[in-house]
């Protein structure tokens, strides 16, 4: 029961960061390996504002979101769009964007190390809270609630508004989207920027209960990747289920076997999905 609850709480933020990568990969078609660094930047901002100005990470998230949005928009517009325009095929674009963002991830790590080379240690709402007869850390509960709120809002926007439907249309087919008059480059830039903002907000939330440091981003990139591949690219409901599975498995392994093995467990799931259900849990075969 304890494992179930902490696993569920963890999966809330996992689902949110997977949504961020899904917008970047599923809609804008950029496999962004620097996604985890964007998350760590969000965590760094939260740490910084908390230690320097005693600002709540939740307020920092409000500032970080528009900053990350603008930053990611500029990245897409000036670094990635030339690759998109040049690529003759989706495969070519994937190779180019993986290389470009892999390099970018090192650059971002370097910048963050130069700003703060140590652990982003701070304590926010680190107090016990009783829920369903169990005790959980209040910061985990708050992060979960905020993540669910943002993720739910995003899901509603994507599925129930006209502009959100246009974003999904681009994710289904860029060619068909252009043929109904959607400016694919503009929508892709927007989706990439939104994905970056969601990821950064996820980072500020995670930093309240996991101590981050500059070079830990790659782990979160992998977790987000596992979730969207398990859930099926572009499938939001699949990503939520996958996030819950990953959260539960990690928590179980950490508490029953050894905390050091959580990444191993995540990687085993990843391999199993790649081998047996590459189209995702609910995906259809192409």
């Amino acid at each position: 029961m304890d494992i179930l609850l902490s696993g569920l709480l963890l999966s809330g933020t996992y689902a949110l960061i997977a949504m961020g990568l899904n917008l970047q990969y599923g809609v804008a078609r950029i496999m962004n390996l620097a996604n985890g660094e964007m998350l760590v930047l969000g965590g760094l901002a939260a740490f910084w504002m908390y230690t320097a100005a005693a600002l709540s990470p939740l307020l920092t998230a409000l500032i970080a979101a528009p900053l990350a949005f603008s930053g990611n928009w500029l990245l897409y517009r000036y670094l990635l769009l030339p690759l998109v325009r040049r690529a003759k095929t989706q495969g070519q674009l994937e190779v180019d964007s993986i290389l470009a963002t892999f390099g970018m991830s090192f650059a971002l790590v370097g910048i963050m190390v130069s700003i703060h080379g140590e652990y982003f240690t701070y304590s926010y709402l680190a107090e016990p809270f009783k829920i369903l007869g169990q005790t959980v850390a209040l910061n985990r509960l708050v992060a979960f609630i905020v993540a669910i709120g943002i993720g739910g809002g995003l899901y509603y926007w994507l599925t129930h508004t006209y502009q959100g439907t246009a974003v999904r249309a681009v994710s289904v087919s860029t060619e068909a989207a252009g043929l109904v008059g959607i400016n694919v480059e503009r929508v892709s830039a927007f989706a990439f920027a939104l994905g970056g903002a969601v990821t950064a907000v996820g980072g500020t939330l995670i930093s309240t209960f996991i101590t981050l440091e500059a070079s830990v981003g790659v782990i979160f990139t992998m977790k987000a990747l596992i979730i969207i591949i398990m859930g099926g690219v572009g499938d939001i409901r699949g990503a939520i289920v996958a996030a819950v599975i990953l959260g539960l498995v990690e928590t179980t392994v950490a508490s029953v076997i050894d905390p050091g093995l959580t990444l191993v467990a995540a990687y085993v799931i990843f391999l199993a999905i790649l081998l047996f259900r590459p189209q995702g849990l609910f995906g259809r075969r192409a």
Binding site: K88, Y162, T165, A166, R168, A169, V172, S173, E175, A176, A177, G178, L179, V180, G181, I182, N183, V184, G234
Partner: protein
């Protein structure tokens, strides 16, 4: 009115279209006949702005220059395109497909009128509106594709092989529906393998071979032209 003058398209060294000129007037159905690889699809894709090759020449619709513009700008200028294989959003519902068809500014102005028209032409789409498009039959998907293109409020509607993969009965229904579209004043540019049925509803036709226009006439004359009959209507059709 769609005017194409001296349009050439090359994929690298391969020349797919060589100096093609044609026009489509309002309310007119124009059919383009040609063998596989003659350049029919390239022509439509170049006009729609989704052709990977390099294009030269002149394309305009009612005075607006279209050559090498992006596909969304071309929709805004007044051209809707149903590509081969239909190009609908398979993961979205029928209703979402139709609504997205009216995404451009020119389409938003006339959305209600066009929706009424589409649902009159394809009443089946009303009962299927919440169905995911890819789970429908080929004929129903073709209705979604054509309906979505009509929602774009185009001056000219272009269709690439719309009868492909449809049963003879559905083909008949499709061509019947296409002949009704003309009543809206829309021009239709149709690329077809099914020469007999498409010429039967068309006003004019063009023949295209190896990337060049080799013949142009009104549809009735083409149906009766022995050369056309031999090449595109099969030997049996000549005796009809």
């Amino acid at each position: 009115m769609l005017t194409i003058e001296n349009l050439s398209v090359s994929y690298g060294l391969h020349r797919a279209l060589a100096g093609v000129s044609l026009t489509v007037n309002p309310g007119e159905i124009v059919v383009m006949l040609g063998a596989n690889g003659a350049g029919k699809s390239t022509l439509l894709r170049a006009v729609a702005g989704i052709c990977e090759g390099g294009a030269t020449g002149h394309i305009d619709i009612s005075g607006k220059d279209l050559l090498s513009r992006k596909s969304d700008e071309i929709v805004e200028a007044g051209i809707a395109f149903v590509p081969e294989g239909r190009g609908i959003f398979g993961d979205l519902t029928v209703w979402e497909n139709l609504m997205l068809g009216a995404y451009s500014k020119r389409a938003q102005r006339a959305k209600d009128k066009n929706l009424k028209w589409v649902l009159e032409l394809f009443p089946k789409l009303i009962e299927r509106k919440d169905q995911i498009a890819r789970t429908m039959s080929g004929g129903e998907q073709q209705m979604v594709a054509i309906g979505r293109a009509m929602m774009a409020n185009p001056e000219v509607l272009m269709l690439d092989e719309p009868s492909l993969g449809l049963s003879p009965l559905l083909c008949q229904e499709l061509f019947g529906n296409l002949s009704h579209i003309r009543e809206t004043g829309m021009g239709v540019l149709l690329v077809e393998q099914n020469a007999k049925q498409s010429l039967a509803i068309a006003d004019r036709g063009y023949l295209i071979e190896n990337g060049e226009i080799t013949g142009e006439n009104n549809a009735q004359a083409m149906l009766n032209d022995p050369a056309v009959q031999a090449a595109y209507l099969g030997a049996g059709a000549a005796k009809d």
